[in-house]
């Protein structure tokens, strides 16, 4: 703590005075503190590294994967793992390892788009409900309760079969099950942020409703929103995998981990790896996102943002 002798001719401080004590502690480098708290737990670091690796794998799949996702090698179908096919081949002779690598593209793209779509829609409706209060809020919240009453897998099954079952169809099917969660989260956050005096201060200054909404209320809802989005990445990936497993998700022959599990399920006796490997990939990716989510929750927690000087 540096002690800087300076005299501040500040009114209200009793006139001329030598203040030995630094008025404020040295500025806390916000980013450095965020990184320090985020990586405090080893498991969060591991999760973060895995996510980065899988994203890299998805981007450079063409380079990394030994074979194309659809390349069929018909004369060694259902081969055991060997030097060329590290994890063996599936019922159509396609290399399992390459398909898993390409599968990460589907998982990540479905995950990211679903989360962004549902977060955007959910946040907007949540903001409106939270700020409007009164009749509009109760109508929105009743509709949200109804949406959340339908078991999510059932809802996404129906919606998936309404739309064509491509990536977009699955994304919308899963997003529909996730966005009510955001409505509840943001509605709750807006109501609690509105209790603070700085919102009332904004109103007493005569600023427009919109300005208060986007300048004061929304920024203070961001931390829980970011944490929820990270957690929802895992849920989205799981939902897509379940849909594909039930045969109503991504259309074959696209390499999707859920579908691969389903295809491998028939050959469980001979080649268990065909089901176990893609399933493991799903779990690892979802686990890592959850760890990143936990790390973000600690790092963004206002209580831990360092206390004021006394």
């Amino acid at each position: 703590m540096t002690t800087k002798t300076d005299s501040i001719n500040a009114p209200g401080l009793g006139g001329e005075v030598d203040i030995l004590e630094e008025q404020l502690l040295p500025p806390v480098n916000e980013f450095r503190r965020f990184v320090k708290v985020f990586f405090r737990r080893k498991i969060v670091l591991i999760g973060f590294i895995i996510v980065v690796l899988i994203v890299a794998m998805a981007i450079f799949a063409d380079v990394i994967a030994p074979f194309g996702p659809y390349e069929q090698d018909l004369h060694n179908v259902l081969a055991a793992p060997d030097s060329t096919h590290l994890l063996g081949t599936d019922s159509l002779g396609r290399d399992l390892l390459s398909r898993i690598i390409y599968g990460s593209r589907v998982a990540l793209s479905v995950g990211v788009i679903t989360v962004l779509l549902s977060a955007a829609v959910g946040t907007l409706i949540g903001l409106v409900a939270g700020y409007a209060e009164g009749a509009l809020q109760s109508v929105i919240m009743r509709l949200t309760d109804a949406m959340m009453a339908i078991p999510s897998l059932i809802l996404s099954l129906i919606v998936a079969s309404i739309l064509n079952r491509g990536v977009l169809g699955v994304v919308i099917a899963v997003a529909i099950t996730l966005f009510p969660g955001y409505i509840r989260l943001i509605n709750g956050q807006v109501l609690s942020v509105k209790q603070n005096d700085y919102v009332m201060a904004g109103r007493s200054m005569g600023s427009h409703k919109a300005r208060i909404m986007f300048r004061h209320i929304l920024p203070n809802c961001l931390s829980p929103l970011i944490v929820q989005m990270t957690m929802m990445m895992g849920v989205a990936i799981l939902s897509e995998a379940s849909l594909s497993f039930l045969g109503l998700g991504i259309l074959p022959p696209t390499a999707a981990w859920g579908g691969m599990c389903y295809d491998g399920y028939k050959y469980l006796m001979m080649r268990p790896l065909l089901s176990i490997a893609p399933g493991l990939a799903i779990m690892v990716l979802v686990f890592s996102f959850n760890m990143v989510g936990d790390g973000l929750r600690d790092a963004l927690d206002p209580k831990l943002r360092g206390t004021s000087s006394n």
């Binding site: 500040a10 209200g12 009793g14 209790q195 700085y198 007493s204 600023s207 961001l222 943002r305 004021s308």
Partner: protein
């Protein structure tokens, strides 16, 4: 009664503020919380009016009605001669520049996501009081210095400041629109003794430099109110029971509740404390949900008569501008 003299900053006449209580299945209104029941007073330019009372007496509600954060159920709120009781948000916007609010809780009155400079400068942006970024920064720095903070702290965030410094930021923000009225709602009760003294001095200095600046100083700390206010009003359960010049009120207290309130606050002086005759009120502060009939204080009043429980005593002048609302005085 106190008529709205020309030139007052604030005049409120028979102000009523009822909050509906909804209960049961269809949230039907079953009763009214009479937060304010016929309150009248005015504030002259450059004057500080102290507003004292316990929780539930409506002192915070008065402040919020004046700044028109609530639309009053009844009565008139005049600001600089204009009746703003029922004006809409759009034409209130100009008037809001001239009034400001300072809050009690230093930790919830500043937006944690904004830098202190932006917080203080927000009124400048809302009312477009500055033309260029340079002028904006200068004005913000000036406001910081006026409130006893060094300008190089404008990019720090609220969580890096102490309680006392945050109240200074609130005051700087209030000064941004060059207001003629600042409603201070318990500005020092969350602070330590030494910090309270600094804020009280700051408020006084600001007023000495701008003779149009007036305060409504709301607090339950009688010593602070006595120190800073020229006139003091004592409130009980939504009504003003006594209002007069500060010195007169403390020296010659008339209303039984004010007397009990003064005696309840221990003076930090053992010798004086020894001699004081302590009046300890019995019972709890009644809820404003169903206030007692007649004078709301009569169930706890040592001098209560039959008449007190029948009719509400009007606020009348007991001589020299010392108004009191009691049948027995």
């Amino acid at each position: 009664m106190i008529e709205a003299a020309r030139g007052n900053i604030v005049d409120i006449v028979n102000l009523k503020m009822y909050f509906p209580v909804r209960r049961g299945l269809l949230k039907r209104k079953i009763a009214d919380v009479k937060a304010l029941d016929d309150v009248s007073f005015s504030i002259r330019p450059g004057e500080t009016l102290g507003l004292v009372g316990e929780s539930g007496c409506g002192k915070t509600t008065v402040g919020r009605c004046i700044v028109r954060l609530y639309r009053p159920t009844g009565g008139i709120v005049m600001f600089e001669g204009a009746d703003i009781s029922h004006s809409g948000e759009s034409d209130l916007r100009q008037i809001r520049r001239k009034m400001a609010l300072v809050f009690q809780d230093p930790y919830s009155s500043l937006d944690p996501r904004m830098s202190s400079g932006d917080i203080v400068g927000e009124p400048l942006k809302i009312h477009h009081l500055v033309k260029s970024k340079k002028e904006y920064d200068e004005r913000v720095a000036e406001l910081f210095i006026m409130s006893g903070l060094s300008p190089d702290m404008t990019d720090r965030y609220p969580h890096e400041f102490s309680g006392g410094q945050r109240q200074r930021l609130s005051i700087a923000r209030a000064l941004a629109g060059d207001p003629s009225l600042i409603v201070c709602d318990e500005p020092i009760s969350a602070l330590d003794v030494s910090m309270q003294a600094q804020i009280l001095n700051l408020l006084q200095e600001l007023q000495s430099k701008n003779d149009r600046l007036s305060y409504l100083f709301i607090s339950h700390d009688l010593l602070a109110v006595q120190y800073i206010s020229q006139r003091v009003a004592v409130m009980y359960l939504g009504r003003v029971v006594e209002i007069s010049d500060a010195g007169e009120l403390y020296a010659n207290t008339l209303h039984p509740y004010s007397i009990a309130l003064l005696s309840a606050q221990p003076l930090p002086d053992p010798v004086a404390e020894e001699k004081r005759h302590r009046i300890i009120l019995t019972g709890d502060v009644p809820t404003p949900l169903n206030p007692p009939a007649g004078c709301a204080f009569h169930p706890r009043c040592p001098r209560a008569k039959k008449e007190c429980s029948e009719s509400v005593p009007p606020l009348r002048d007991a001589g020299g501008g010392h108004f009191v609302a009691c049948h027995c005085v």
